[in-house]
Symmetry: C2
Subunit: 256 residues, 2 copies
Amino acid sequence: MHSMNKKLILITNDDGVEAQGIQVLMEEMSRLGEVIVVAPDSARSGAACGITSTRPVSLRSLGRRGDVSVYACSGTPVDCVKLALEQVCPRRPDLIVSGINHGDNASCSIHYSGTMGAVIEGCLKAIPSIGYSLRTLSHQCDFSPYTSELSRIASFVLENGLPQDVCLNVNFPEVASLAGSRVCRMARGIWQHEWVPAHNPRGMETYWLTGRFSNLEPEANDTDYWALDHGYAAITPIHVDMTAYETLSRLQSLAR
Amino acid sequence: MHSMNKKLILITNDDGVEAQGIQVLMEEMSRLGEVIVVAPDSARSGAACGITSTRPVSLRSLGRRGDVSVYACSGTPVDCVKLALEQVCPRRPDLIVSGINHGDNASCSIHYSGTMGAVIEGCLKAIPSIGYSLRTLSHQCDFSPYTSELSRIASFVLENGLPQDVCLNVNFPEVASLAGSRVCRMARGIWQHEWVPAHNPRGMETYWLTGRFSNLEPEANDTDYWALDHGYAAITPIHVDMTAYETLSRLQSLAR
């Protein structure tokens, strides 16, 4: 009877099933419920909400790690969530968590993020969903400053749910100790100087994607970027309905 | 002097540079200004806002088709826009159009759409941007019922611009003659029954992504899905700021 009442938590990410960040989530979420992992078999950085429509997607059990069942998928983070819900999970998960991403997904970077792609997919399936990301350039880093806070947020969501069509984008600054957590809006921001010419021995014109991010409203203290810059975790509620409601009446002149 | 005043229009898509839909856009947009095409070298369906971060992206001139300069890119639709803006366009485009996608991108399908990924990217770069999609299953179809309407919408946006951080998602129904055009919101919808087991001769567990879409509010007459179902073009303004503003105060209890 007890296991019937245990919460079911699905974990995924975009850095791949062997990434350091997802191991931290496995350990922390195991304290809160029964855990299933379905994650990409290797890194899918920048996968956004991409789906695999031109070839079959493979699913492979990696067995159990402690109490956690782990699966690797050849598809995108969104594919992982879709496959997990229909082909892996014995019942509907109570919570989906994605991450911990190595690199922040604040401001407009959310649009490119595979971590948040999985979270948006969970939300579209009406399951409370949270993405976690850490502002770091390192592939190996210390996640201990964030574990209690990420568990607190997950527990809150398990207990209270989230508003309809809303998921959470949680970003951590790289600090020894968090200043706190703030509920934020997305900063307006822009990526610039995005391409570096690449040497191509076959003579093709090729470029590496890179870039510099600029926060376009650095003074505003209610944004995710401000929070990260000041040592706070940024908790940003994200609406999967992207309609620009405030412009509907203004654009009525386009109807005919 | 005249060419200096001509509007510059950038065209891309996610079905690839040789797709039928993008040829239609080239022809129609050539009447409105100077046109540059930078599009994927083959289909990128379901690419969403994905970016290519793990390998270089190639850019290849295909020469001119009439008055239009055409380039093929090995990356995603978002990569195409980013490359076009920094490496191809002689000046900042006045308009970015993407499509015409073969298949609609209404309701939650916007999240998976490479067509709309390019549009969102244009909007993040503060350029008026429009995505066009046709509800059809066919790779060869008659676009003539839509050409005058898509040009009307593009002309409107060239003349009036769009509100800050807002782009347009335009979807056409497959009809001989449009009933009209409506300014809409995104319908709430869900994809279900998404996987079909695939035969794999090597014995791996594999699945094809497919699915059935359900409009969760079929009675509402202000949605993009309703418009398409009733023969109207659906013009949906999309906000690239995904913050769920109406929940910010309600979620303040998560701050600490």
